[in-house]
Amino acid sequence: MKKLMMSLMLVLSIALLAACSGDDNGNGDGQVTAITFWNIFTGPDGQEMVAMINDFNAQHEGEIRVLTQTIPSADFYEVMNTAVPQGQGPDVAIMHLDNIQRYASLAMLYDFDDLLSGSDFDAADYIPAVWNAGLFEGRRYGIPLDVHPIGLFYNIDVLEAANVEVPTTTEELIAACEALQTHVIHCLPLSSMWPSQTLFTASLFQNDGVDLDENGEYPAFNTPEGYAALKVFNDLIFTHGVSIPNVGVDEDLAFFRQGNAAFHINGIWMLNGIIESGVNFGTAPIAQLFGDTPATWAGSHQFVMPRGRSVDAEKQAAILTFVEFITNNSLRWANAGQIPANLRVLESAEFQALPYHSTFVDVSTIQFVNASPYFDDAFTPIYSRVTAAMTTPSADIQALLDAAELEGIQRVDDALGN
């Protein structure tokens, strides 16, 4: 008992000591403009971002200092929700394209308009759809850093051994999987959870469906096109057996990394993870894999300025310098597994020479979701139904669409105050 008391006391005193020795970050002299930057890059891309920030800080020694913090994207929006209204948000942050307008509509962001008017930023330098997604009610709230599409990874050795070409359509995919049956355990394992929603969205566009209505308010996916877009996954798994059912998150990736899968669909952000595995692989677009109209889902990371307690013009100028530096160096960012949003970088010889990027996607087929303030409410209810379609052999596709649409309508009703 004595011993126990002693150890308890020890624990307590350690705890108290640690509590007292809190870090205190003294601010430097007034000369340097310090910018806080929140990013959501937890993987290898995060290390590249930190390296770029270090270079920036070295170049602007004595003028600007960027302090960065990485917040996992699962938490990021919740953190923003609590920090920004209290004036504890960062000066600049990374946000996904489909959230920018929502946060702008909730008055949680500053716009870039005044800042940009005297700068070198030119809309013509950017993929138009990416550039336009940062607009809300005529004002600019986001500056694009990258686009991250999904694409097809294929195991070169497996395909060569079976003498199978890389498929580009649904029929070719089914045929390829049949031909590969004796050569590999899995053909195209499909996770029924993440990133299945991006696959569905791509399929929706490839089948000429739309996500939201023209006003960007209510769901508009419950159509024959939407039906076809969802049905294709049920068919691929349960009729054609291109994937075993019930593949969990990243198990599809694990199969491919082991060399036990011929194909894998994932975002370009997984590129380095796949290179690491040592599998001999190539990349190809998925633009017509689920439907006839060429289309590819992509997300985009953009810089935003969360609202603070007051506007600080000096800080905002420094932010612009920082954003310019990063976007102009986005070739480095491409190496971390993303595709730059800047056309000049995209068209540069250096980028074209990258072994996997240019074959991964035809940029002209990229189609973004309708990034309206109501996108999250209207569209995300379909996600859990995509999972259902991929896990239930006799899934009632129409019922799934109906349920998702109803939930979407009710959520938008609530958001609009109807």
């Binding site: 929700n81 029924s192 059912p245």
Partner: protein
């Protein structure tokens, strides 16, 4: 114990403290707790009732509007409202979990306890083994079980495949396996406490009772229902109620293991409350608080009802 030894030290009291006015002494002892209790329990309790009458905003007081009982009306009666859907679905899922888990969480530890009560070789080690998982945090629990239940790589499916029964069961993403998994990991996680209470209770049942039953020729079941159960009634009531309330509060297991899926069939009420209050871009704390108040009232009613029923059964 060592009482007299200590008592002799008493006279060496600092004189300054001796001077303290006698009537403030009780305050000195109970006030620190009472103040904290009021600020962090009593006040929030009433404040919550207030919040539930508002279209509330966490951070901008000027955006809060009083709307009376509208939040309650929405979740309880307005069938075309999204929060009606979420509340009732969440409640249904929570009740499902309670109904599936509580019987096992009471019966299984009682079974283990009666085995341990015979004090076989190494019973202390067994007791430790069954108690150990309840030391783990929910995150650890789920990390362990997600790996065990992994569809293609988990030890459970690999073993089943080895034995030739069932292939690639999606334990966490298809029904009814998602419920089975959640109940299974909860049983593994939490039976320790109940088992120890039962062990202590069984020890206190006089052997005499069993001996006289043996003379009457009672079999194992008769002895269990006529002697054991009535003798441990108090502990049984306690465990039954505490376990029910704990199961009502279930949150971490579905949140982390199934994500509420498949298709929101395991999204329990607590998950909706938390999401609506804090998640997404448009938190609705007023609605969430109204849900929490309703959930609280249901829990109180159920625990009162359980006490009554079990008491009456004993009479």
């Amino acid at each position: 114990m060592r009482l007299n030894l200590k008592a002799s030290n008493v006279s060496t009291t600092p004189s300054a403290i001796k001077e303290l006015p006698k009537r403030f002494e009780p305050a000195l002892f109970i006030l620190p707790h009472l103040i904290i209790f009021s600020v962090f329990f009593i006040f929030p309790f009433f404040y919550g009732l207030v919040i539930s009458l508002y279209d509330w905003h966490h951070f901008f007081p000027e955006q809060r509007t009083f709307i009376g009982l509208a939040n309650y009306r929405r979740i309880l009666f307005e069938t075309d409202h999204i929060y009606y859907e979420y509340f009732w679905r969440g409640l249904r899922n929570t009740l499902t979990f309670v109904a599936l888990s509580v019987p096992l969480l009471v019966a299984f530890p009682l079974f283990i306890a009666s085995l341990i009560n015979t004090e076989p070789r190494g019973y202390k080690l067994f007791r430790a083994i069954f108690y150990l998982p309840s030391l783990f945090s929910i995150a650890t629990l789920v990390l362990i079980w997600r790996w065990v239940l992994n569809t293609n790589l988990g030890v459970l499916n690999l073993t089943l495949a080895h034995l030739g029964v069932g292939t690639n069961i999606a334990w966490l993403s298809s029904q009814p396996f998602a419920w089975i998994s959640l109940v299974m990991m909860t049983v593994w996680w939490t039976i320790g406490g109940n088992m120890i209470i039962f062990t202590a209770a069984l020890k206190d049942v006089p052997d005499m009772l069993y001996e006289s039953a043996d003379i009457d020729g009672a079999n194992l079941f008769q002895k269990f229902f006529r002697i054991t159960l009535p003798s441990i009634r108090n502990q049984l009531v306690y465990i039954f109620i505490m376990t029910t309330l704990a199961s009502f509060n279930v949150f971490g297991q579905p949140q982390l293991a199934t994500g509420g899926g498949p298709q929101q069939t395991t999204t329990v009420l607590m998950m909706y409350i938390r999401n609506i209050a804090f998640g997404g871009g448009r938190p609705r704390p007023g609605i969430a608080t109204a849900m929490a108040v309703c959930m609280g009232i249901i829990m109180i009613i159920i625990s009162i009802a359980q006490t009554r029923i079990i008491k009456r059964m004993g009479d």
